[in-house]
Symmetry: C2
DNA sequence: CCATGTGAAAGCGTTCACAGCG
DNA sequence: CGCTGTGAACGCTTTCACATGG
């Protein structure tokens, strides 16, 4: 076993994928799974599954495979999903509303407990199980409500100040949907989701497929 | 200059980031930019910008920097964004509706021309500038409308069949929002966006920051 | 003199292949 | 015997450092 602490970033990014596959296996009442089968369900290579899991410890049984329930527990523990996390949505536009109604959050232990917007017309309106509050109150409410995750769904121009307010309130991690680069202190985890960027990347590969076919190219 | 064709995947994933920064520069009437400044705005390292751009050709001027307008054109060309792309949204739920109303698509040359759902209550209802059609018609409509991109926003259980129908209609690329792994032929480009997974990855780093005060972030 | 463009070095991540254990 | 766990090989990415050219 590798020294356990220090899990590579690439491995961390795949653990939720394994978790998803393992949850399905549990529903199918499958108690044990080999690395190759789990790999098939997660869409990766078998050796990769074994190496990734070896970073968590030696949880498999040679000649048999991995215990599904045990692995689910261990991955959940490593990802810090054992206790619920409190989420705030900043920006009550289309995307913010869709996220608030999204059913996948509670299932995974993420609870939306606050929402914010600058638009006076939106403030006070119902928003999932909470109510939209003014952005000016954000830092206070986030601190009071012990929010640990902020989802930023404001326009690009407002993103950095929204992030700053969330950080001031004591948020530990931020998922930024605004199409702009924002910065946070090193103590706060940050990730981006940008639909436009995903589509542009896809566009490149679509185009290359055209050329390859047309040219009957190399590779 | 490197022989131009064969741009590394990691570079392709950053080109849209540069494009975003360059568009802002153009709005600010800035005509020329150095690799270090562009890097600052895109949140990456200067050497990386230079190496990435060198894959497209020698578009900079030593001692001066890069011409903003020229670079915008070249990156757009490489990403295949020169002409508009026709998009279909499969699944008219919360997320599908939010995507249909999302303002960022037209600005980037992505036009939503069709939407599909299985729910009879939704079929026929307005959906952005189009109308929801039955999933059973999908392959035909996608072919007729010359749709090249499909956004999959159906529940996990329906994702693979939705993808198969989109592929049958002749779609060139797919952006999958359903929380499950799907497969496509090698000729179709595929990417995943999964909110739950993003939150779980963030959760890991949040937790690690708690344990060790100093934390190297993700991304 | 300044900033690009690029070899070379260093760092990561993936895949192979097999020893070793249940 | 089957499947894990892991060194070692390989390939990709990032970063460095500097020659090169406007």
């Amino acid at each position: 076993m590798v020294t356990a602490r220090r899990i590579p970033v690439a491995t961390v990014a795949r653990l939720p994928l394994y978790l998803r596959a393992l949850d399905e296996l549990a529903l199918e009442r499958i108690a044990t799974i080999s690395s190759d089968e789990l790999a098939g369900r997660a869409g990766v290579n078998g050796a990769q599954v074994r190496k990734d899991l070896s970073h968590l410890g030696s949880y498999g049984t040679r000649g048999v495979g991995y215990d599904v329930a045990y692995l689910v527990r261990e991955i959940n523990r490593q990802l810090g999903l054992s206790e619920n996390q409190r989420v705030a949505i900043v920006g009550a536009g289309n995307l913010g509303q869709a996220l608030a109604r999204y059913g996948g959050f509670p299932a995974r232990g993420f609870e939306v407990v606050a929402a914010f917007d600058t638009d006076p017309a939106k403030i006070g309106s119902r928003f999932g199980s909470t109510v939209v509050q003014p952005v000016s109150e954000m830092a206070t409410v986030i601190a009071d409500e012990k929010v640990s995750v902020a989802l930023i769904t404001v326009p690009a121009a407002a993103a950095q100040s929204a992030v700053d307010a969330a950080v001031a309130g004591g948020v530990r991690s931020i998922l930024n949907f605004a199409p702009t680069t924002v910065s946070v202190p090193a103590t706060v985890a940050l990730r981006h989701v940008d639909l436009g960027i995903e589509l542009q990347i896809l566009s490149f590969y679509t185009r290359r497929a055209d050329e390859t076919v047309a040219a009957a190219g190399p590779e």
